[in-house]
């Protein structure tokens, strides 16, 4: 069932809120859409990367001479081809990056810090020659002890990844280095005093495993550098301005000399917000003086592109018997991979965000380990901390014999609530999602044998940021809309709809494209659920500029003051005292006379989009357990979320369903599995199991609309929140079915069976 709550407000619009055919749909079903690996340039070479087989090793020497002399090899690059960078943090998506680390992640310098860490790259005339060349590169490694687990990495005496790493955020600063990059703390009130008032306290430790974004399209790019230093990159990315910035910085080139074009993107989910291949391809191309194409294998994607953190989380919540939470406390340890920068900060900020708490404290640790550097993954950090908190809240409800939705309603954040991470919420739709869940038929449908039902809520901030959009009125009255945030989930359709709504023209009059870095001003990336929000806001502004200009041109033609012309239903007409003095003109009419009335007409919005508003969700999951094998199957799922306003409801639903699907995989099956040798054992879809169609129910959705007053169409970002609740919703359903509280992800059959056996022996199992 697909439902929309509060459908009425949208009906004031002609396009917004409809399920129009998306402009990129046909290209995608015909195979015409061009993705990262689909471009071939004349004379292009194949680039391949030599990767460290060791999780931790000092690189004493690299000898590339034999590889460089192999016929067909046109260029080889190593650490020597990249200048070292000073330590400097800059934002990337919701996460921060440091160029000192980025340069080391794209190409190992002093040490290889994870299995798969790039050591060298070659460009050759064929794949087989490139692979042969990699085998000829001699690397002298001094193998060092490694550390994989986050808790192990925090122990005194653990192998140090960075000998100079002093924990930030601790006063006074520690005197000795450790693997703890940073400590963060959020909260308010007095948790000790809060717990003193509690009539029930539940305290639990949780662990989660690193999981990969699992985009089906591997990282891919083609780079070409001309003899005069003009560089072009075609790449699958969530942010080509970010690619440009990183590449220019790492290579020491002028930003303006690098033009980056975003290919159609085959999924990203946060994982395509950083650079891996692009600087290498550019460096190789410059050396070889030929275009270089680089495509990761699936194995490379798993071993060397960012999964999200594995974590250890400790949560303690106290409540009164009536269900009012009096204190909440959490400690988060997130592994960052080889370099600082796990999403522990957003994780800490999210942990208790859905609740109105007087006393709350969250402490987080960012910990480096010998694994690939984590990248953003859909609501980075949030799913981990909220899994833990939502599980404990469920346990409190069960212990108090309270309905878990009622308990959440009793503590829910509302407009004016001061969030645990600081600010006061504006209008938010959390209560509305809870009420919609309570009213949903799913919540009341009886369960079958061996089934349990769980509910969980989720929160994500959403962001705005720098955005440029251009909207050209063509000479025949059609429009060309150019945005700079890669379309990863229906953006182009949504932007067209907002533009058509503003201009009062038909949707098929507007063609939309994602422009390259030479065509628009800076655009921050598609991430933080910002694209429809920010590029939508800029599109509206650009459309209003076109309208203003159209009025101006009519005024000039009619020899009226500008404010004597009004724009309505796709055209201009004299207004007020002058009404009826001239026949109305359509936008096409105006376009036809643009040349004579002052030149081409275009709107160009360059904004820093403010006013992004959070999106809350409440999910209901029914899970069936096979008591003999421990296999859990999600048999019914309903995702309810506040979209602010759904511009294109099908794509909003698609985001809800996609997030849930990833969450179900995270909850039940997906994990990075390391051997004692520090090597990843399941770097492929064969053993890294993402759900197939038969693993999932037909996921139901309910769109709640509590408009964001700071967006012209009320938009909230919707893409990330849907992955937050599933892990807890499923764990809570498992607890309902089995009587066992699962705290260790994934809840795979062997773990479930072992826990069931233990509970059966103790007499606490419900099956």
């Amino acid at each position: 069932m697909q439902e929309k709550v509060k459908d009425a407000p949208s009906s004031q619009f002609k396009w917004v809120g409809t399920r129009a055919v998306r402009p990129d749909g046909v290209d995608k079903v015909t195979g015409r859409a061009r993705f990262g690996a689909d471009l071939a340039m004349p004379g292009q070479l194949v680039g391949k990367v030599l990767r460290s087989p060791h999780p931790h090793a000092r690189i004493r020497a690299i000898d590339v001479s034999a590889a460089a002399n192999l016929p067909g090899v046109k260029a080889v690059v190593t650490r020597d081809d990249f200048k070292d960078q000073p330590s400097e943090f800059i934002p990337a998506g919701e996460m921060m990056i440091n160029y000192r680390d980025v340069v080391r992640n794209v190409m190992a310098r002093e040490k290889a810090l994870y299995e798969g860490h790039p050591i060298a790259a070659v460009a050759a005339t064929s794949t087989s020659i490139a692979k042969q060349a990699l085998k000829l590169i001699k690397v002298d490694y001094e193998v060092l002890p490694h550390v994989i687990d986050v808790v192990d990495a925090m122990q005194p005496g653990a192998p140090l990844l960075h000998e100079d790493m002093i924990t930030a955020g601790v006063e006074p600063a520690p005197k000795t280095p450790s693997n703890v990059a940073k400590r963060v703390e959020f909260g308010h009130g007095d948790v000790a005093a809060g717990f003193a008032q509690a009539e029930i306290i539940v305290e639990r430790a949780f662990t989660t495993k690193p999981v990969h974004q699992g985009y089906i399209e591997p990282h891919a790019c083609v780079a070409s550098v001309s003899e005069d230093g003009q560089a072009d990159v075609w790449v699958t990315t969530q942010g080509h301005w970010i690619v440009r910035a990183h590449c220019a910085r790492l290579l020491g080139w002028d930003v303006g000399k690098v033009r980056v074009t975003a290919a159609e993107i085959g999924g990203g989910f946060g994982g395509k917000t950083v650079v891996y291949l692009e600087p290498l391809a550019l460096a190789l191309s410059k050396k070889a003086r030929r275009p270089v194409k680089m495509v990761m294998t699936r194995e490379e994607v798993f071993r060397a592109s960012g999964p999200t953190s594995g974590a250890h989380v400790h949560v303690k919540i106290g409540a009164r018997k009536d269900g009012r939470i009096v204190a909440g406390e959490a400690e988060l340890k997130y592994q960052a991979g080889a370099f600082a920068g796990s999403p522990v900060q957003p994780g800490a900020m999210c942990a208790f965000a859905p609740y109105d708490l007087e006393n709350v404290k969250v402490v987080g640790y960012d910990v480096v380990t010998n694994r690939p550097k984590v990248a953003a993954y859909r609501a980075p950090g949030g799913p981990i901390s909220e899994f833990a908190v939502e599980s404990v809240i469920d346990e409190i409800a069960r212990k108090l014999g309270m309905d878990p939705i009622a308990l959440r309603l009793k503590n829910a954040a509302k407009q004016g609530t001061r969030a645990a991470y600081g600010p006061k919420f504006g209008p938010i739709g959390f209560v509305e999602t809870l009420e919609a869940a309570k009213a949903h038929a799913h919540w009341r449908t009886p369960l079958q044998k061996n089934q349990g039902r769980g509910v969980a809520s989720g929160f994500w901030f959403n962001i705005g940021g720098e955005t440029s959009v251009s909207l050209q009125l063509n000479e025949d009255g059609t429009l060309s809309l150019t945005a700079g945030t890669p379309d990863i989930g229906g953006l182009r359709a949504s932007l067209c709809m907002m533009a058509a709504e503003e201009l009062g023209v038909d949707l098929d009059r507007i063609r939309v494209q994602i422009g390259d870095t030479g065509q628009l001003g800076y655009n921050f990336l598609t991430g933080g659920s910002r694209a429809t929000f920010s590029s939508g806001m800029a599109t509206v502004e650009a459309a209003r500029e076109v309208i203003k200009e159209a009025c101006k041109r009519a005024a000039k033609l009619w020899e009226l003051p500008e404010d004597a012309v009004e724009y309505m239903s796709g055209g201009v007409r004299p207004a007020g005292a002058n009404a009826g003095k001239h026949a109305p003109m359509t936008l096409s009419d105006i376009a036809g006379i643009a040349g004579k009335t002052g030149g081409p007409i275009a709107g160009y919005a360059r904004i820093n989009a403010h006013g992004a508003a959070p999106s809350f969700a409440t999910h209901i999951a029914d899970v069936e357990i096979d008591p003999e094998t421990g296999k859990a199957t999600v048999v019914r799922y309903t995702a309810i979320q506040d979209a602010g306003r759904a511009i294109h409801p099908s794509y909003v639903e698609g985001q809800y369903q996609g997030g849930v699907a990833q969450g179900i995989g995270w909850a039940l099956n997906e994990e990075y599995i390391y051997g004692p040798d520090g090597r990843l054992q399941n770097p492929g879809f064969l053993d890294y199991r993402v759900p197939v169609a038969s693993d999932l129910p037909m996921i139901d959705t309910v769109i709640v609309e509590v408009p964001n007053p700071r967006h012209p169409y009320g938009v909230r970002g919707v893409g990330e929140t849907p992955i937050v609740p599933p892990m807890a919703a499923i764990a809570n359903a498992l607890a309902d079915a089995t009587g066992v509280r699962f705290t260790d992800l994934p809840m795979s059959p062997p773990k479930v069976l072992a826990a069931l056996d233990e509970a059966r022996a103790a007499g606490t199992a419900k099956m």
């Binding site: 079903v29 974004q213 089906i216 159609e264 999924g267 229906g490 759900p691 059959p749």
Partner: protein
Amino acid sequence: MSALRFVLNGEGREERAPPSTTVLDWLRLSARLTGTKEGCAEGDCGACTIVIRRPGENQFSAVNSCLLLLPQLDGCEVMTVEGLSGPDGPLHPVQQALVDTDGTQCGFCTPGFAMAMFAFRDGGEPAEAALIHEALAGNLCRCTGYRAIVDACRKLPAAPAQPAAAGGAGSVSADGPSLGAHACGGQAFHAPATLAELMELRAAHPDAVLLAGGTDLGLRVSKQQEAFARVISTQAVSELATVRAGADALHIGGGATYTQALPLIDAKFPAFGALIRRIGSRQIRNLGTLAGNLATASPIGDTLPCLMALDAEVLLRARGGARVLKVEDFITGYRKTALAPDEIIAEIRLPYLPAGRDFAAYKVSKRFDQDISTVVAAFVLRREGEMVGELKAAFGGMAARPARAAALERALAGKPWTPAAHAGIDALLAEDFSPLSDHRGGATYRLRAAAGLVRRFQLETTLTGAPLRVEAL
């Protein structure tokens, strides 16, 4: 040595390329048809799905082009996403359905889904959830949660009686396959049409690589970029493609794919058929063969416990003669078999079960579809009244090779077939097997699951009305 001949999207092609070229690479790099995508190059994601119609077949089958070697297309009609809609025609119904249901998000997996849906529609199956899931099990989508894609499958109009496929001008049947051998770039590929030719080639080139379906071999080309000097394919040998119900056994030719063998296996050994439906995906089963599964002799080869429990025999042929081995004797160790360098697997014989036997097969894996087994079990039970006359219990995933559980079988013989008699089976299985712990399952879990499957078999054979079929484990 002739060129390869096939029809691609309605146009006849004659191609020469090194035989160790995957169809996916050829499509993307040589033919510049980039609609077909590479997501994993190991047959797991389905983004590379195309459909082929082999000579003599009347419907298209979905296959993973990343695992298929170019010469395997010889004589086939091939369609990629680019061929679905005519040059100026409207979208093909599968494309239209995906557009109408918003079945695309990022769109990278879409061409593969479109081709899997095309094969599904071409097969004329009803649009029921279970069949749709089976048809889509070989395709991963990470964006949609599949709902919109499943909806698109449900909305597909029926295919016309005559498949509106490539057909027409470039039909292969006029020219036929190139037959025989294909060589390019120092690599040779032989696709003999008769058993006699195959035996000659095998004798002449004992070091050549034998290719049946190529789902394992294709992986070595696709992932490791191995180039084989000489490949002998059994695919075109008509004698090997037959699947026949004989008087006392099912005869499955060494070249028969899972898909070709399924209808008769379903009819004679429904539990085995249900297990085969969980091997890989349709794309894999349209290429892979039972004989190939046997020859690979993996400890988790899905079909091997069934073959053992059913007392299957394997007919091995060499130029000089033939011999018959029990499957149990054919598999000699970890990925080792008794196959001599000049031999081929000509046939697998599955003797029918005498009346009154209970047979069941179970697969435990993390996912129902498209997954590697953690444990596979097959049981055949002869009862004497309430007692066990004889139990054959074969397991995969419990040792270096699939094997019968001798201690378990001995101990249960002559005992009542009741839950009470099963008290000691955990210890008996621990006597029979010392399974490995790996990321697919720990030793304890494997032993526990194996014992659970014995118990499940007991329950299913004693509870009236209980299904004797593989279920979602």
